[in-house]
């Protein structure tokens, strides 16, 4: 898929995130806008997405609270419909604030931080054992670096030389109650992960071209790969960007209308 097509998918995803959040009066908007490009690029390289083939690639949203970005990404991939997205957080819907495996394209139900990456490591090991070329793409939040199980996963993946595992770290510097450097400083994490035996790159996380280049480079590595994606929580919406409270807040009508204007393609470049 051409990068221009990915960029237009990002537009659909951004729009859909805002629509879902506003309609449902739910939060986690900032987190979802932070990973739009990562999710779109990750889904675009996931072979067999939504199929039952065991040899398919796996996509794991370890930061499950950004589920609306994933749902919108699955819409762009043709696995969900606009009508599906309209059921987001409606009673009886499968589209909740954290993803469920009853939804096509979702292989593991996440929401408890530090668990998705452990599953991703197991999925990558399974693909290695099956020797079918299966790849695993995992989206990790920087707050998950706080979790011990995340570090356990880094060590295991390195020890097992899981070069079919690619973790995209949403490095937006924020977590629920504060900035990461004020809560638990993870500034040294990328270097530490590299020292544990990972192929570590850094890129502009809202730049589709940069992301796809990094993904391409990762595919040539003989080590598990981490792409440290420099992102902004609430990217594209001025009153949300790098504001801690937008981890939780729902939008008012004027805020929604303002956000919809701001995330138009010409404005987020």
């Amino acid at each position: 898929m051409e990068n221009e097509q990915l960029e237009s998918q990002c537009q659909v995803v951004r729009d859909s995130i805002l629509d879902m959040a506003f309609r449902a009066s739910k939060g986690h908007v900032g987190s979802a806008l932070s990973v739009v490009e990562i999710v779109v690029c990750g889904l675009s390289i996931t072979r067999g997405l939504g199929s039952d083939l065991n040899s398919r690639d796996r996509f794991v949203l370890s930061k499950g609270h950004a589920a609306s970005a994933l749902y919108a990404g699955l819409l762009a991939q043709g696995l969900l419909t606009k009508e599906d997205l309209e059921t987001y957080c409606v009673s009886g819907s499968m589209l909740a604030t954290h993803p469920l495996t009853q939804i096509p394209g979702i292989d593991f139900a996440t929401g408890s931080l530090g668990q998705g990456i452990t599953f991703a490591v197991g999925a990558a090991l399974a693909a290695k054992m099956r020797a079918d070329g299966g790849q695993v793409f995992c989206v990790l939040s920087d707050s998950e670096i706080n979790e011990g199980s995340t570090w356990e996963s880094f060590m295991i993946a390195s020890q097992l030389r899981l070069d079919n595992l690619l973790v995209a770290l949403d490095y937006n510097g924020q977590q629920a109650l504060g900035f990461t450097n004020e809560v638990l400083n993870i500034g040294g994490a990328p270097k530490a992960i590299e020292l544990l035996g990972w192929n570590v790159q850094r890129c502009a996380g809202h730049d589709v071209n940069a992301l796809m280049d990094s993904i391409g480079n990762a595919r040539h590595s003989k080590l598990p790969s981490l792409i440290v994606c420099d992102t902004k929580s609430g990217h594209g919406v001025d009153y949300m960007e790098e504001k801690i409270e937008w981890h939780y807040l729902p939008m008012t009508q004027p805020q929604y209308e303002s956000a919809k204007k701001q995330i138009r393609w010409e404005n987020v470049q």
Partner: protein, 302 residues
């Protein structure tokens, strides 16, 4: 028991290519058999109990049948959320092998005691706990493999002599008082039965080695049909929340009219430690207390 289990698992792995064994850096002297016979399906992933469960979940989703091996307390209490959100929620076949349940690691103290593991996973939907009564039984269970999705938890005692007791379903129960032991509790169950006998109460002894929704229904049905009126449950676990509690819940749901007396770990085992006999006497229900409660129940039910 662990050696017999791992021998049986190595045998199973010859016939089932899905079987994978992951250890959290434990099993010295027992695990080598599997590692040598199946080197491509054996992984020591270090002291990472939580992550191992997540890795096993990913393996199970990818078509494998992973067994996670560690000391029982680290296998369940530490990993519980990963178990619940992983194999239990997704109905992926993951097997946890926990060594040394209850007070088994006597001198090692509280950190090594698995006293609430049955309580944690026993009530989880579609979960099975298997607690072999002795080594031979453990080997059979391992070699037979697993045939259901979701979590299976093997609760393996360390040093248990060959069981002299009968399986719950071995034959009909012909006494109105029954001592019902779970897993590695056959010796204590016999001791309790003998004590009751010396006070004129005939009590059969039966052992349960599988705990799940199906086995609970079968147990309750048999107890009611056999007209058991006084039931003594015996388990190497806290008396609250474990085997006895699950049996009680199931019995009450069927309007059972009888009296239940539970033997198990009564107190927080923080304090003096010793050999198995010492810690049991120190922290478990005194057999004399069981006798008093049974005598009282018999009197009430008369």
């Amino acid at each position: 028991m662990r050696a017999e289990f791992l021998d049986g698992l190595a045998e199973l792995a010859h016939n089932d290519p899905r079987v994978v064994l992951i250890t959290a850096d434990l099993g010295f002297g027992s695990i080598e058999v599997f590692a040598e016979q199946h080197p491509t399906r054996f992984f020591n992933l270090g002291v990472t109990e939580q992550a191992i469960v997540g890795v096993a979940t990913g393996l199970a989703e990818g078509g494998y049948l992973p067994y996670c091996y560690s000391i029982a307390s680290f296998s369940i209490a530490r990993t519980f959320e990963f178990l619940r959100n992983g194999p239990i929620a997704h109905r992926f076949p993951v097997v946890v092998v926990g060594i040394g349940p209850g007070l088994d690691y006597s001198f090692d103290g509280l950190t090594h005691f698995a006293l609430e593991d049955i309580g944690l996973v026993g009530g989880q939907p579609e979960t099975t706990i298997i607690a072999p009564v002795d080594g031979a039984s453990a080997r059979r269970f391992a070699a037979n493999g697993i045939d259901h999705a979701g979590l299976t938890y093997f609760r393996l005692a360390r040093n248990v002599p060959p069981s002299q007791t009968e399986h719950f379903l071995a034959r009909s129960i012909d006494t109105s008082c029954l001592v019902l032991g779970f897993g590695d509790s056959s010796a204590k169950s016999i001791e309790i039965s003998s004590k009751l006998s010396t006070h004129g109460i005939a009590a059969s002894v039966r052992m349960v080695d599988i705990l799940n929704e199906g086995s609970l229904l079968a147990i309750v049905e048999t107890l009611i049909k056999s007209q058991v009126r006084v039931l003594v449950t015996v388990e190497n676990h806290y008396v609250s929340g474990g085997f006895g509690t699950m049996i009680a819940d199931a019995l009450m749901a069927q309007n059972w009219r009888g009296s239940l007396v539970k033997w198990g770990v009564e107190k927080l085992p923080v304090g003096p430690l010793g050999d198995s006999k010492f810690v049991i006497e120190k922290y478990c229900t005194p057999v004399s207390t069981i006798l008093d409660r049974v005598l009282s129940s018999v009197e009430i039910l008369r």
